[in-house]
Symmetry: C2
């Protein structure tokens, strides 16, 4: 008898990657196509379909495809749409699941935004297995979040819940891409770390190699490498980042009271240099009733996290139906 | 055939009130006993039981009791406990539902904190009927909140979620009873309004009758009465209160994306003088994607809201079981 497999699709601005993953998290095979070169969504779907089928040929004799999950920027779970995604080539509202169903009329197709998919991936395959209340925070260019309460992702009334990156943590603070000021992601993200490095250069007189790097060439990675070498500008940059994140997490804990908070994405790989100050400031700022209850953990989905997350949508939905 | 009725019990520091309410929200009969005079919880339960039975006698021929819901300060839904409630006479952790079940071994008994019960009451009987994502904020001496996501109250990992009153909105801000500083309820509550009135007296030179009232005699009600008469100290007090609440709500919307936010409790009766600045500052500070989507409404549970809320627990749990 053939075994069941889910297809996870991660739509990014440059590449669209996909993979076939079984219920236990075995990553069987994968492929990718370029996103950016398809200004026409119909062209994109056609090439994606062909690439998927070709890749599936490798395992088709042993596996049956039971569903498709998609993680996309500005993805809306309720409507299966991608809406006004600034980094994708298709303007306006794209009815992505409806379009993909033209190719797969008999399969369930689910879509959500990348951070929500990451949270479901953590629950199905990763460190949140067995947890019913937790939060996943993705730290990349921006800050995304997926919040799970009582085993269910919080989508909210319109499917746009979980925008922790756009909680205002500093009124009249840093300009944000969303048009407002002081959003958490302007402080806590790869971009936020870069901005903070310059704040620290202007505040302190510590010598630092970072002072030789122009703003437009700076990266969070460079700041991290300096921090590891003991550079005080870089160390203070991560302390400040952790303080901003820890304070914000303390407030979110008061709202959803999670068992654990997982950090995922490039910046989360900074390790203790980010986790230690975050944990400290989370504890200092938390209500007593939550003290030392909430675990702050690195995601267990290290490689292909976005594809894992997307495919996990399928298993999560099957779980819902089984009772 | 007898009709079904639920018993709602509202445990307060001074009085414990209870009422019998049917599924459609008809308030059939009620009673109350004094809480404060029972230092022994067993005495309290015995008197409560006798009062309940005596009151139920009035409708016993026509109704069958199907369950008991309890709203209590520091109530924990998962454990059925009341934990370290500062305004109740019983210290430590009280296993309240277990104790009440000694009297009602064949009935389901549910307990939660008062703000969570209020939210469920709004969903079963009030303005949130048919809504799956909404928030109820109770504005009394403090600020309580109950958050419903996808039709379920967010209890969190430990049953203590929904502490919106203890989100820190101003680091190093006003001292809070919880031992920290800058919690939302130090600004937005009857006590918060009183504190703000004195802040406004020190900031502005407007003449005001409020300047004749010592701090210990001031109430939010007096501030409201002055505001209605055009007193600029009082008007600015409510503007500031609404600003603090509106900013906080804008952030919460980014997290749970509710369809509506209901204000309940004494202070919410201030009406437009509170709702207008709250709505304005919520909209100004919200992400564009949520603009003009989230309704800010007064609760429809005006009278006996706490008893309605407690009894609603029973109908909500029956709803869960029916599929």
């Amino acid at each position: 008898m053939k075994r069941e497999v889910a297809l996870g699709i991660d739509i990014g601005g440059t590449n669209t990657k996909f993979g076939f993953i079984d219920r236990n998290g075995e990553f069987l095979t994968s492929g990718s196509i370029l996103t950016a070169q398809h200004a026409d969504i119909l062209d994109f779907l056609k090439e994606l379909y062909m690439a998927i089928e070709k890749t599936f040929d490798e395992i088709r004799t042993d596996y049956v495809l039971v569903g498709i999950g998609i993680g996309a920027p500005n993805g809306n779970y309720y409507k299966g749409t991608i809406e006004y995604a600034p980094n994708l080539p298709w303007p306006g509202v794209i009815h992505f699941t409806d379009m993909l169903k033209e190719y797969y009329p008999h399969l369930p197709v689910y879509l959500t935004n990348d951070a929500d998919a990451a949270a479901i991936g953590e629950m199905i395959y990763g460190g949140a297995k067995g947890m019913k209340d937790f939060i996943v925070i993705t730290l990349g260019t921006g800050l995304g979040s997926g919040i799970v309460s009582n085993g269910h992702l919080i989508y909210g009334h319109d499917g746009f819940a979980g925008e922790l990156g756009h909680v205002i943590v500093s009124p009249n603070g840093r300009q944000c891409g969303c048009g407002r000021q002081g959003c958490l992601e302007t402080y806590v993200s790869a971009t936020g770390v870069k901005r903070t490095a310059y704040k620290m250069m202007s505040k302190y007189n510590y010598p630092s190699d970072l002072r030789n790097i122009p703003f437009n060439e700076m990266t969070a990675q460079l700041v991290w490498e300096s921090a590891v070498k003991g550079d005080m500008i870089a160390i203070n940059t991560f302390k400040y980042t952790g303080k901003m994140l820890g304070e914000a997490l303390a407030n979110v804990v008061a709202i959803t009271s999670p068992e654990a908070i997982f950090l995922m994405g490039g910046l989360s790989k900074a390790g203790d240099i980010l986790f230690d100050p975050t944990k400290d400031h989370m504890e200092i700022n938390m209500m007593k009733v939550f003290s030392n209850k909430v675990k702050l953990l690195p995601s267990k989905l290290v490689k292909n996290a976005a594809i894992y997350g997307a495919s996990a949508l399928v298993w999560d939905e099957m779980k819902e139906r089984s009772w």
